[in-house]
């Protein structure tokens, strides 16, 4: 304990040299017994071997990119097949309701183009409003047809105070959970839309997906994206239910072009 460090270090090295052959052989015996004995690493790699490994790496990366592309395409396949069974009627917005109270837009397609009351209306997700370049999997619900004339129709937006729609809330893909909660979407004015009638037992969080529910009385053949959860808190009047505010997936104030879904069975 009182000896200088140089003496103790020397003793330590001496003991380690004496014990090294025994410890090395016991380590090799253990690896051989567990089939984990590594191959002897070569100090240098030949140029041919290096080229071969580099080619394999490049090939693997290209394969990975290809598989990722296929995976992305398959991600929207289910919806795309469902939407292939319906007809799309492209329409432009030509005006709005003259009332301050209602959020209703006039479309340039009417009954002459098979637009009917109650049909759901979709638009391209995000700021991009060009439907020609948008994939079917990138469409989201913006409202439904409320009135129909021969040449024009009225589109009742999600933000109209009288708008009501059955919806489903499901967790965001990165939460890795599997549940779906049914609710009712309605507008409360000032471009705010809320989902009610969802039990607080459901673990709803900000960012979860809100889908318009397909049903017998709807022109939707599959559940389609409507928006995401902006915030959720227990309802003041009914604390066992959530009051969920929804962020629409489509930029509604700048809506210019939409598609009306027409189910051929109708």
């Amino acid at each position: 304990m009182m000896l200088p460090a140089r003496f103790t270090n020397g003793l330590d090295q001496m003991f380690s040299r004496l014990l090294w052959p025994f410890s090395k052989s016991s380590h090799e015996i253990t690896l051989a017994a567990t089939d984990k004995f590594p191959s002897q690493p070569s100090p240098t790699v030949s140029f041919q071997k290096y080229q071969q490994l580099e080619n394999e790496l490049i090939y693997s990366q290209s394969q990975l990119r290809k598989i990722q592309k296929i995976n992305n395409e398959l991600a929207g396949l289910r919806r795309r097949f469902a939407l292939d069974r319906v007809d799309f009627i492209t329409a432009y917005i030509i005006g709005s309701d003259s009332s301050t109270l209602h959020q209703v837009r006039k479309l340039d397609q009417g009954a002459d183009h098979y637009v009917a009351r109650g049909q759901m209306v979709l638009a391209a997700v995000g700021k991009k409003q060009n439907l020609s370049s948008a994939d079917k999997a990138q469409l989201a619900v913006v409202g439904k047809i409320s009135e129909v004339g021969s040449q024009t129709a009225s589109l009742q937006l999600l933000t109209d105070p009288g708008f009501i729609l059955p919806v489903i809330i499901q967790p965001r893909w990165d939460r890795k959970q599997n549940w779906r909660a049914r609710g009712v979407l309605q507008s409360i004015g000032m471009h705010r839309i809320v989902v009610t009638m969802v039990s607080t037992k459901q673990p709803v969080k900000v960012g979860d997906i809100v889908l318009a529910r397909a049903g017998k009385n709807s022109s939707l053949t599959t559940d389609i994206l409507l928006g995401t959860v902006r915030y959720c808190r227990p309802d003041d009047r009914n604390p066992v239910m959530w009051r969920i505010q929804v962020q629409p997936a489509v930029d509604l104030p700048n809506l210019r072009q939409v598609v009306v879904i027409r189910n051929p069975k109708e």
């Binding site: 003259s98 301050t100 309605q186």
Partner: protein, 168 residues
């Protein structure tokens, strides 16, 4: 009131209201109500009341509201303005702004109340909708001086008196 000029002005206002209204977003001005307030403020006689009713009826036809709601509300507002206009002396823009904003808010509140009675709207949405209507009313009121300038430029074509009329 000269009905041909009034009809042309009405048609132009409907086109502007319907085709450009949505560009303003949630808070959009009500050009038809603005004209109704100005006519009631400056005009006289039953023809002016009929013109206001027609403006309301035009709004009924171009909106989702039940037919006749706005026509009735505009008619009532015109009667109200005729009764209270003698309280405002002169042509001060502030008086016109306040009167227009107040009338716009009252009309929309009447339509909102009707929506609640009919069950078209959820009661929980009253507060937020009222805020939107209040801002829209202020926006409409803010445009009143410009509307008055336009109406005064056209007063001969519309058959309105050059100066304000204080009698009922």
């Amino acid at each position: 009131m000269r009905w041909l000029s009034f009809s042309i002005l009405l048609f132009a206002l409907i086109v502007v209201q319907v085709s450009m209204g949505y560009l303003f977003g949630i808070i959009k001005p009500d050009f038809l109500l603005l004209l109704a307030v100005l006519l009631a403020y400056r005009g006289s006689g039953p023809k002016m009341l009929i013109a206001c009713w027609i403006l309301g009826f035009a709004k009924d036809l171009t909106s989702e509201a039940s037919l006749g709601c706005y026509a009735f509300a505009f008619g009532l507002i015109a009667l109200l303005i005729v009764r209270v206009r003698e309280l405002f002396y002169g042509d001060h823009p502030l008086a016109l702004i306040i009167l227009t904003a107040l009338c716009s808010f009252i009309v929309e509140q009447m339509i909102l109340a009707l929506g609640f009675i009919k069950g078209d709207l959820a009661e929980s949405s009253y507060a937020t909708i009222t805020w939107a209507l209040l801002f829209a009313a202020l926006f409409t009121g803010g445009l009143a001086p410009y509307g008055q300038w336009l109406v005064m430029k056209m007063h001969r074509r519309l058959g309105l008196p050059r100066w304000r009329n204080y009698s009922h």
